[in-house]
Symmetry: C2
Subunit: 932 residues, 2 copies
């Protein structure tokens, strides 16, 4: 017997079941499951996803054997339904729908009413006594089929939607309605629709150069192929890329007997969720329409009716609910809803049709929901004993917690507004404010109590004061890991970057956006200083004017508190935060951070009273001068560390020594004559000399240049000053009985000798301070693993390092040879063309970069079993990366304060999915001891 | 019994032997060996190198047990020599000398005549009846001891040599000679020397604040410690760094009874080589002096006498030879020379002293020799059956072959000249020419038949035409892997880079060099256009004027031909060359290259008639325009490939597709209004538009930016054009019955998907050309492994790649996070302070970068056992790197044409030292087959 590709389903008897999603697709598998449960499912069959693969392997041809299988399946359906496909007297019509393993809503194609043709129309009219219904169905078939099969699947879809056949047919229908002076489709009578069908066929012939097919079998196979073809349609491909769905899964095709919601006043169609998908509330929630076919409900042509009292809103409160209009059918539907939830143990999204008072179930699937709803449903389903705790936790995507953590534009209002531009969603949440174009203006306006949005081409460390006071940041260039994006995300601030449509004129203080109108014309919108804009940073959308904002308060939300508390029972790795400002550290602690995984010391040097000494240090001509200048920074650094240690109350604080190339501190100096002169005076040299020195600092590839520990090695006085500041700060607090645990991290180490050089200085200073202050200071010295060579020689480096902290941003840059600042010229192309599955700066590349991390951990722990290993970077809060870190045995991940709850939650899920033997630093020692 | 640290030696009985160099040092071990051979060696003992380690571990203290051991050893020496150390009547004097495992000539300290003091002087005078000799010995002791022990070992050496105690004493002696009206030391009489000794002691007291020690034991221990201390002296440390000698080896101390060459007219001292160390000729060669102690011969105070007729030259031909002056002693010395060569089976460098007609041997060691001598000695010793073939080959350092491959400044004349500046030795050999400051001038002058040296701040690809016609290139900035260095080395052209003393004024067409005079004053030398300079590129020295040059002709040198032919019998890995110009390829073939390992296609685009189309392509606004422009380059590329394939006659040619960032092709465009306008006309756009586009191309880190296969992926028409040029060139030649084997290499691949993308294009074009031209073309497609991620995922990449070529320059850059262009700010410091043992761009970092290479080879061959693996880059010709490549199983290395003989020789040595099972691509398949 040859392989089976076609699976029948009908109430009480289906060849498939819910667990067969891989070959039946989600829709097919669930139709089979519902059929097996005895629900009223119209009979039909599913062509398996494997046939999709064959279809593409054979370049669009289907094997002959499939024709036989389908023919046999149709015979069975005919028998069950008591109608015959293509029969002039008692014709069976079918729907042909896609159905992938996971739901890809709206991404693939559907054709309804297949089988209607000049041969079957009279018989159906005779049988239903409803000529209007038949022509309404026929015009729908023509509309869908000509669009999906004759145009899209044939590959002749015009670039602009308005030139497509569907729009042309819609226009013809609109004209017909206009000429009849009616508003709704339902107001057209049988005669109108019959004429319309003739007109439609003529338009199809004229535009597509082909006759509309009048043979039921030709229609059927055209539709089946079109569904397979739609798997590689543009929308489907880009959806898969975003959702990380493999291309080789393929779609199944579901061919099912038509039932008709458009047979008159006792017919209807609807969609519903077994719980409220926005709020998660445990109430049946849905919409329906009388005398309609499925697509009408979601198409937005008519306002759908509320399913019941829970589904009423401002727009539909005066329309009849199904509960009121067909109480018996509604009761049956509620009973099915209850059984479905008990059976699937999750919130379901269903489709149903009522044909002359009889209810049919057309689909059930796990319902999409907001993060807020996901959390509430998970918590309540556990309380209803539908699911256990682990399942409840796994039901919520870690990223969905983000919704609790940021103010949002009110989704209802946002839905009504039209964005004027879009960019990359760099910092989540919503924000509203008045536009300013410089950091100084941002500060000035904010001081007057105004809410501002800072708009720049891109930002630099010198914009930080303005970024800090702004409600949000909007940049014209830069990617997800540009300066603006990093800083904003660190603060949990709304931010959109790479908004290419923005053309900023800083002199005029205005930005121009060229907006494409639906008619193809271009409109220039000018945004002037002070204009109000609203940003949705979660989706990267920019709106003109003020949209209402909803504030966050997760720690007062009982669902959020419950699910995160439950999750904590399972977590096996620590979560720290990246923070150098005490406020940020405090915020992270509130969210449960267990330490600081990265405090960058250079951010502390950009304030005006400090940067001048930094510059003095950089421009020093010899060691002595440099030492003098650098020591002027000591009191500032000490203050910084006291502040942050105080907040952290003895939790570990990983401090990274000076890292960036020196020219970052003098970048804008050449254009600032005042500052130049001030500095020249301070250094007692000529302005020209300073300029020359600044130009000397220019590097061709600063990322790979004189930075990180290379600075501390060539200028040991910098390391000495920083170490002194750390230990003196620690001593000061220890004397005040405040616990302190500094972990000093040497950046950009590539060889053990580099680390040795710096560690010697650090220990020397520690000894001096400890002797001089007469206190005991516990501290660790370790290194950032961010240069591939360090990972490769982790065994050697661990001889000196007491901890490894993986700096994934730089490690990714060097492992790929990608400059974060320059990937804009090819990375978008790579993602679009699937050269890369995702941006490696956003999602850890487990095969390459991850391999290095794993290797370093293993080699390092072979040398030093107690080696503490953590990771930080953009990925520290990215759920799949957190799970990888859990798997390879890291001790902690570190992320920005606002991602702490997400990282913790992801870590808990990882521990549930894949609990690991406790092989982290601490327990390794413990298990060693227990062996003795 | 406690561990032995002191080893006695005396004629016929020594506790050590030649094989004990690790603990006795080279000198001590060979003294013991000579003593065992019965040669007249003054008795003495060696304190082992292990004591040096103890000395440093104990912070400069020596254990008490050592004192006992030394005391016992002295007693034995006293007994053998019949004198007593510190005895007033019959005093024994000793020399105290260093001696490391390997020779570090002149790098550490020696003190002679230890034991002379007020107590022993009268007895020695009485015994020798030679007061002059005694005071001469005493003044030597004071000079050496005060310098070595009291100043250097005490750590109070002044920064300038002329402020040191030694110079002060020399000055006092010069004054004495002046006041006496004599020229040579030997002309001072006993009374003079006695006075001088008193004066010396006073100067010592005044300058060092201490009495000159008058106790023999104090002198002895002071000298022993000073020798240990000198192991960490500046010169010794920097010598070890250059010679890659580990710091923990330590030096031994040799304490030996003094014999005196300065006892009068029948006493003498000399040094000799058993063969001529410059030419290798098998003749005894040396110098000697009457009435002198060892240091006098090398110090250059008096012109040394020739040892024999073979040692005569212009300077010494009228001075008496030892052969003539003391025929008996000479005969004895010749007999020892012959025995030594037979015993040690290598050319020896010996020291001897004649005390009143009696010959004493003071040292023998393997003699340093020039490359030319090394080769001749190895070949001749084999013919004399002293050594076997493998030993002969291993006797020559691969780098020594370099001397045969380049013209050189005549060493004799060079020795007399003083360099005005020095830089990095980027391209070996010598060159003489007139200075020009632009590539265009270089070309113009060269056309007139002038020899020019091109002097630039740094070079760019647009200077290449000028570099090509120049005798040599001299740059003020840049490192060993700067553009100038790479290009020059590729051509085997003399080149000095990073000559920091040069201050070039391009407008005035002159360069200034500030030269420090011995008196501390500064002199400015101005070099104007047309001035003659001479460059020694092997050592990085720049001279004013024209020095004579010796031309190379290795393939006519019988010694060179013989040794390289012998070596070829052993070699197990292939050697290819890096070349894209047919002349270079031809040169490499002459040297025995077995293919091209890297032909860079971008070098072909810098000629004016090509670069304009390249620029047109870069500035194209859309795919069609770009395609049009790129196709204009097709005929040029095709021509290039035809030329190179023709030369290589079927040997494999690895062609790298376009690699550099596009802005390299438009770098100078912004300053060239003519070119801008020409291009604007060609592209039919405004000049402003071109400028804007050029500025758009600017990248922050171009090394990690839009280059390599990222270009070919985003602009597939470039890859298509290049592939077409390759295959059309191949087809053209195949039709002419010329064999062709292209290996097409995709650069900068980080993921398999990138390679897949490019390989698909290449295969498509191949198929088209093969069908259209109706020829069969054999070709391979592979990738450059230069991004760490590619090495880490070698198993995946080998699914597509048929070969891996390791690009060590970029792989090193990314593995270390070092930008070659920017390391100048810290790498010199790193090398000086031993943070790194050597520049990883010159010597393969086996632990880090090498680990990645090894990993990639193993992973790649696990997927594809026949995977061909090669390496190219600066390291491809570096002997230790070649040996590593042999060890890890690469199939070939590829280097610049002039390094081919060196790489081949190194590969042969590797095969001799460490023959490997044939696990390269070919044999792996073979062994698989044989299993069946």
């Amino acid at each position: 017997m040859s392989k089976k590709y076609v699976y029948l389903f009908a109430p009480g008897k289906a060849e498939g079941r819910a667990s067969m999603k891989e070959i039946l697709g989600g829709k097919g598998a669930n139709l089979a499951e519902m059929a097996n449960l005895g629900f009223p499912v119209p009979a039909g069959f599913t062509i398996s996803t494997e046939m999709c693969t064959i279809y593409y392997a054979n370049k669009g041809k289907l094997p002959e054997t499939l024709k036989d299988e389908v023919a046999k399946a149709i015979q069975k359906v005919e028998k069950i339904m008591g109608r015959k496909f293509g029969d002039p007297q008692n014709p069976l019509l079918v729907s042909v729908r896609s159905g992938a393993r996971v739901s890809m809503p709206g991404m693939m194609e559907t054709v309804l009413n297949v089988g209607l043709c000049s041969k079957t129309i009279p018989g159906l009219i005779e049988k239903t006594k409803n000529e209007r219904f038949v022509y309404d169905s026929y015009r729908r078939l023509i509309m869908m089929y000509s669009d999906v099969v004759m145009e899209k699947a044939a590959g002749i879809e015009p670039p602009k939607e308005e030139d497509g056949i569907r729009k042309k047919l819609e226009k013809a229908m609109d004209e017909m309605k206009k000429s009849k002076g009616v508003k709704y489709d339902t107001e057209l009578d049988a005669e109108d629709l019959k004429k319309l069908c003739e007109l439609f066929k003529e338009i199809v012939r004229e535009n597509l150069g082909k006759q509309f097919p009048d043979d039921p079998n030709e229609q059927l196979w055209g539709a089946i192929k079109a569904v397979f073809q739609s798997w590689n349609g543009k929308r489907a491909v880009s959806y898969r890329r975003i959702e990380k769905i493999p291309d080789d899964w393929g779609t199944a095709v579901n061919v099912q007997a038509m039932v008709f919601g458009n047979m008159g006043e006792h017919s209807a169609t609807g969609v519903a969720f077994t719980r409220n998908p926005s709020t998660g509330e445990n109430v049946f929630y849905g919409e329906w329409l009388i005398n309609a076919q499925g697509e009408d409900v979601v198409a937005g042509i008519r306002t759908p009716f509320p399913l019941n009292k829970y589904s009423k809103n401002e727009d539909n409160k005066n329309l009849p609910s199904l509960e009121e209009y067909m109480p018996q059918v509604y009761k049956e539907l509620v009973s099915i809803r209850n059984k479905l939830e008990k059976h699937f143990r999750d919130m379901q999204d269903i489709e149903f049709t009522i044909e002359e008072g009889k209810l049919y179930m057309l689909q059930t699937r796990t319902g999409k929901r907001t993060g807020i709803a996901a959390v509430r449903i998970a918590v309540e389903m556990l309380k209803e004993r539908l699911i256990d705790k682990k399942t409840a936790i796994l039901r919520v995507k870690p990223s969905q917690l983000d919704e609790f953590l940021h103010p949002m534009l009110d989704p209802k209002e946002e839905q009504k507004a039209k964005p004027i531009a879009s960019g990359l969603p760099a910092g989540p949440g919503g924000a509203v404010g008045q536009v300013v174009f410089t950091a100084d203006d941002a500060e000035a306006w904010a001081k007057e109590g105004k809410k501002v949005i800072l708009v720049r081409d891109e930002t630099s460390p010198e914009d930080v004061h303005g970024m800090h006071v702004a409600e949000a940041i909007l940049t014209a260039v830069g990617g997800m890991t540009s300066h603006a994006a990093l800083v904003a995300r660190g603060w949990g601030k709304c931010c959109i970057v790479g908004c290419k449509a923005l053309q900023i004129d800083f002199e005029k203080k205005e930005a121009r956006v060229a907006k494409q109108n639906p008619d193809g014309s271009e409109e220039i919108i000018v945004i002037r200083e002070g204009d109000w804009v609203s940003l949705n940073g979660t989706e990267g959308k920019v709106y003109l004017g003020q949209l209402p904002v909803i504030p966050p308060d997760p720690l007062k939300n009982k669902w959020f508190i419950t699910i995160t508390k439950w999750a904590e029972e399972f977590r096996q790795i620590g979560v720290r935060t990246n923070a150098e400002r005490p406020e940020d550290a405090a915020k992270a602690l509130e969210f449960g951070a267990e330490g600081i995984g990265l405090a960058r010391t250079e951010h502390m040097f950009f304030q005006p009273e400090r940067i001048i000494h930094m510059r003095e240090m950089i421009l020093a001509k010899n060691k002595e001068e440099r030492r003098k200048a650098v020591m002027k920074l000591l009191p500032f650094q000490k203050e910084d560390f006291i502040a942050i240690f105080k907040v952290m109350k003895g939790k570990p604080v990983t401090i990274r020594l000076l890292d960036p190339p020196l020219h970052e501190f003098v970048g804008t100096l050449l254009e600032d004559q005042d500052e130049l002169e001030k500095l020249a005076k301070l250094c007692n040299v000529k302005v020209e000399e300073i300029k020359a020195r600044v130009q000397d600092l220019h590097e061709l590839n600063p990322m790979l240049g004189h930075r990180g520990c290379r600075l501390g090695i060539t200028y040991p006085e910098i390391t000495e000053m920083q170490a002194r500041a750390i230990f003196e700060a620690a001593a000061t607090l220890i004397k005040q009985k405040v616990k302190v645990l500094p972990e000093i991290m040497v950046p950009l180490v590539g060889t053990k000798s580099e680390l040795d050089n710096q560690v010697e200085i650090i220990h020397k200073v520690a000894k001096e301070v400890i002797e001089q202050e007469k206190v005991k200071i516990n501290y660790l010295v370790g290194t950032m693993i961010e240069v591939p060579r360090a990972a490769l020689t982790g065994d050697q480096i661990a001889e000196t390092a007491e901890f490894f902290s993986f700096g994934t941003n730089d490690l990714t840059q060097m492992t790929y040879g990608f400059s974060r600042d320059d990937v804009g010229s090819f990375l978008p192309y790579y993602l679009e063309n699937k050269i890369l599955p995702h941006d490696p700066f956003e999602v850890l590349d487990q095969e390459g970069v991850g391999q290095l991390v794993k290797m370093a951990v293993e080699k390092g722990r072979a040398t030093r079993p107690t080696l503490k290993c953590g990771i930080w970077g953009e990925l520290g809060g990215e759920p799949s990366s957190v799970k990888f870190c859990h798997k390879i045995g890291l001790d902690y991940v570190s992320c920005s304060p606002y991602r702490v709850p997400i990282a913790k939650f992801a870590a808990s899920q990882a521990a549930i999915e894949n609990p690991r033997p406790k092989f982290s630093a601490k327990s390794k020692t413990a298990s060693k001891k227990s062996k003795k």
